[in-house]
């Protein structure tokens, strides 16, 4: 009973915070309401016994939203005063489309003949996940690792505006890089 109440409470928080993202008039509020939505879903995962993934969602998303708020303010130059930031295009279509998608998905969720439970959860879900990742599903982990490395490289390439020639000179002979922001190690 308590589990059900907590679940529904968290569900309401998750969805309302999600709606708030596109309603509030402040970038900081938008990104932190998304963080709240993620926290609610992370806690629901705890109810579904996925302790590790649930806590991980909270960890990652709070961090990400802290960064998100910085980016939003950088690009949009806002202050905490509420200003209208209703910047939408095609809202006339977006609303019916998303309502339609919701009805479709909801109908599927409610009326599809879901199979009854097969198997039982492992005694220690987290340890089982670890054994799975380091055993039969090693390929998934290795694949994720490669994708992450590629993401780091391409992210830096896209976002950085200074190349190594700007830093070390045209012949790359400069002993110390000329950075606008001096670093901390050996300089």
């Amino acid at each position: 009973m308590v589990t059900h109440l907590v679940f529904w409470g968290l569900a309401v928080v998750a969805v309302l915070a999600g709606v708030a993202v596109f309603v509030v008039n402040s970038m900081a509020r938008a990104s932190y309401s998304l963080a709240l939505s993620f926290i609610a879903v992370g806690l629901q995962l705890l109810l579904l016994q996925q302790l590790y993934v649930g806590v991980l969602v909270i960890l990652m998303m709070v961090m990400e939203m802290a960064i998100m708020a910085v980016y939003m303010n950088m690009f949009m130059g806002m202050n905490p005063a509420m200003m209208s930031m209703n910047m939408v295009h095609g809202a006339r279509h977006a609303l019916p489309v998303s309502v339609g998608v919701f009805l479709l998905l909801a109908a599927g969720a409610l009326f599809a003949p879901w199979p009854s439970r097969r198997g039982s959860p492992p005694a220690d879900v987290t340890a089982a996940l670890g054994m799975e990742l380091m055993g039969p599903k090693m390929l998934a982990m290795a694949g994720v690792g490669v994708v992450m490395a590629a993401t780091i490289v391409s992210g830096v390439v896209l976002a950085a505006h200074r190349t190594r020639y700007d830093r070390f000179g045209d012949d790359l002979r400069r002993p110390r890089p000329a950075d606008p922001q001096p670093g901390g190690v050996g300089r």
């Binding site: 579904l48 949009m76 998303s98 998608v101 879901w114």
Partner: protein
């Protein structure tokens, strides 16, 4: 808390995210919409895992979704930074070069 109700909540999250993704003009807001959709997806996968087939391998899919979310965020921020640097703009409407 049954598989139906969990999926219903997930559907609501996905639809709200879809609305944001379709309607917002600012790149970072579009990313927030995408992330809300992934949020719903995480909940749906977790619910299906728990109520239908709670064997360990199903959780790996959740980690893959989390990884996808990280990639989405990193590349999104990189593209937004690049766009802002080159065009002094953060709107998707100024980056339609590839639209047919």
């Amino acid at each position: 808390m049954t598989v139906q109700t969990v999926l219903l909540v997930a559907a609501a999250l996905i639809s709200v995210g879809l609305y944001g993704t379709l309607s917002q003009q600012v790149v970072v807001m579009v990313m927030m919409g995408l992330e809300l959709m992934l949020n719903g997806l995480i909940l749906a996968v977790a619910g299906l895992w728990w109520f239908c087939a709670p064997d360990p391998s199903g959780q790996v899919l959740l980690l893959v979704i989390l990884a996808a979310m990280t990639v989405e965020m990193a590349m999104g921020f990189a593209v937004a930074t690049s766009l802002h640097r080159i065009r002094r703009s953060d709107l998707t409407d100024t980056a339609t070069d590839l639209s047919g």
